[in-house]
């Protein structure tokens, strides 16, 4: 079963996304902050990471940099989720090493397309 790591500190967002992804047949594991996100990536080895950027302990930009710097985790696609629909945020996320970017409020179907694009690529490659 395809495994997605959701790194998100907001309880409602976590609940909504994990329930909807679970209903679509994904296995969802959850981390509450950036540091936990990094350790869980190492222990769980997910197929894809959804990373909130405003995280406690270790923010999303830094967690992404660490994951992309380590050979064991750098191949896992990361989709950044930010609350600020700023023009600069997309660039900032991609510079930190994120593979794609989406803004809150999450348009679930749009996000799903992005997830499937990565996982589809994963399975064919």
């Amino acid at each position: 079963m395809t495994k997605i790591l959701l790194v998100e500190d907001n309880e409602e967002n976590r609940d909504m996304l994990s329930r909807r992804l679970t209903r679509r047949g994904y296995k969802v594991v959850i981390a509450m902050d950036g540091e936990q996100g990094v350790t869980m990536t190492q222990s769980e080895v997910p197929d894809l990471i959804l990373m909130d950027m405003d995280l406690p302990v270790l923010n999303g930009w830094e967690a992404t940099r660490q994951l992309k710097a380590a050979s064991a985790t750098q191949a896992i696609p990361i989709i950044a989720l930010t609350a600020h629909a700023m023009v600069g945020d997309r660039k900032k996320a991609l510079e930190a090493g994120c593979d794609d970017y989406d803004t809150k409020p999450i348009e679930f179907l749009r996000l799903l397309e992005k997830i499937e694009a990565f996982l589809g690529k994963e399975t064919t490659s």
Binding site: R19, R20, A83, V87, K104, P105
Partner: protein
């Protein structure tokens, strides 16, 4: 006899000469009297001018003693003329901390003929008889009389003016701080408001999916209403943030050169559901020579969407027309998007307020037709940023025509 005659004649002559001299002297004396009188009158006039002046007029001799003190000086310093004549000026009206520099300035002038405060208008602190200090505007001129000098000073109490200036400065600083606080507040509030709102929208979305799966279709219309209201509120918040960003000058244009007809086609497709809502028809007339324009395409769309959705909202079972033309004005090409509706129209008073934030034609229109009251304000600001504007023609009951005019800023393509 002859001698006698001559003597007599001579005497007559001399007498006449004496008389003439007397007449001249008399004339001179009366002339002198007249000029003395004139001088006296002149001095009296000057005295009256000084006495009635609304500035304190003070004179001081080279020793620094007060020699003149007009009534207004009595008013602002609290010293009567009788008490003050002959007193050292420095001890009378100059606060202790400035006396030393006053003394130095005076000595410098007497030695060199130059002084730091002479012959110009300066603002300085003065001392009242009751011991308090107050701000004054002061000008001092030295007057040479013979071997010595007299100094005359015109002094004006500027306590009120200073207070007003300070109040103004304070008000300006407070307004700037408040405006800054507003921007920060809005940015934070935007985030704080959107987070729970996104939960409302997200959960109603999810419940709707679950209701469909569970076959509980009866919940769906209510869930759609929750979601709709949430979306509306989100639109409102975004519009307010948009407007505050524009007004804070924090909106950037992303200019592109793009062909106009495909954009129009795209907008018409997107507008279709809104046009159908009130059973309206949308007619589009695009000129053949539209070509391309250089502007921010997202913002042009936003403004056009706004005008068209207003037209749809205020028209029922009618025709809405979108006309697009390219026009030369003083050898510059302009693109005009003209949206005409068959709606309720407006009075001139209503049109006047149209582009202000939070104004719809009237308050009852907000209840009846919904909307944020911000769309036109935002669209107008956007068009102004791109060097154009939105204008309106309307009459009550006759429908309205809104025109977006934007510079094409591009060679004809």
């Amino acid at each position: 006899m002859k001698d006698e005659e001559r003597t007599k004649e001579q005497l007559v002559h001399e007498l006449a000469a004496v008389r003439q001299r007397i007449a001249v002297l008399e004339a001179l004396e009366s002339e002198h009297k007249r000029s003395e009188e004139a001088l006296r009158q002149n001095e009296e006039r000057i005295r009256l001018i000084v006495e009635s002046a609304l500035d304190a007029v003070i004179t001081m001799d080279a020793q620094g003693l007060i020699t003149g003190w007009n009534p207004h000086a009595e008013t602002i310093f609290g010293w009567s003329r009788e008490k003050v004549i002959g007193r050292p000026l420095a001890k009378t009206i100059i606060p202790p901390q400035y006396r030393e520099s006053h003394h130095r300035g005076l000595q410098q002038f007497l030695a060199t003929g130059e002084g730091p405060v002479l012959n110009k208008r300066i603002e300085i602190t003065a001392l009242h008889r009751d011991g308090y200090e107050f701000p004054v505007e002061l000008s001092i001129s030295p007057l040479r009389s013979g071997e010595t000098f007299t100094f005359s000073a015109f002094i004006r109490d500027i306590t009120e003016r200073r207070r007003a200036e300070e109040a103004l400065q304070r008000a300006k600083e407070e307004a700037e701080a408040a405006n800054q606080a507003k921007s920060v507040f809005l940015a934070n509030m935007g985030h704080e408001l959107r987070t729970p709102l996104n939960h409302i929208i997200g959960y109603s979305d999810m419940l709707q999916e679950e209701a469909e799966e569970a076959g509980q279709e009866e919940f769906i219309p209510d869930l759609q209403k929750i979601r709709g209201a949430g979306k509306h509120l989100l639109g409102l918040i975004n519009a307010i943030l948009d407007l505050s960003k524009i007004e804070a000058g924090k909106t950037d244009l992303s200019l592109e050169t793009f062909p106009i007809p495909p954009m129009i086609q795209d907008i018409v497709t997107t507008m279709k559901p809104l046009v159908d809502t009130n059973a309206n028809t949308l007619e589009v007339h695009c000129a053949d020579d539209l070509g391309t324009m250089r502007a921010d395409p997202t913002k042009v769309r936003q403004a056009l969407f706004n005008l068209l959705s207003n037209a749809c909202k205020f028209t029922e079972r009618g025709t809405i027309t979108l006309g697009v033309i390219r026009e030369m004005v003083d050898s510059a090409a302009w693109i005009r998007f003209r949206v005409t509706d068959a709606g309720i129209g407006m009075t001139p008073e209503q049109m006047g307020k149209l582009f202000q934030a939070f104004h719809q034609a009237d308050a009852s229109a907000t209840r009846k037709y919904g909307g944020t009251g911000l769309g036109l304000a935002i669209s107008q600001r956007i068009c102004q940023m791109m060097g154009g504007e939105i204008t309106v023609e309307s009459a009550l009951g006759q429908g309205s025509t809104f025109t977006i005019s934007l510079p094409a800023m591009d060679v004809r393509g």
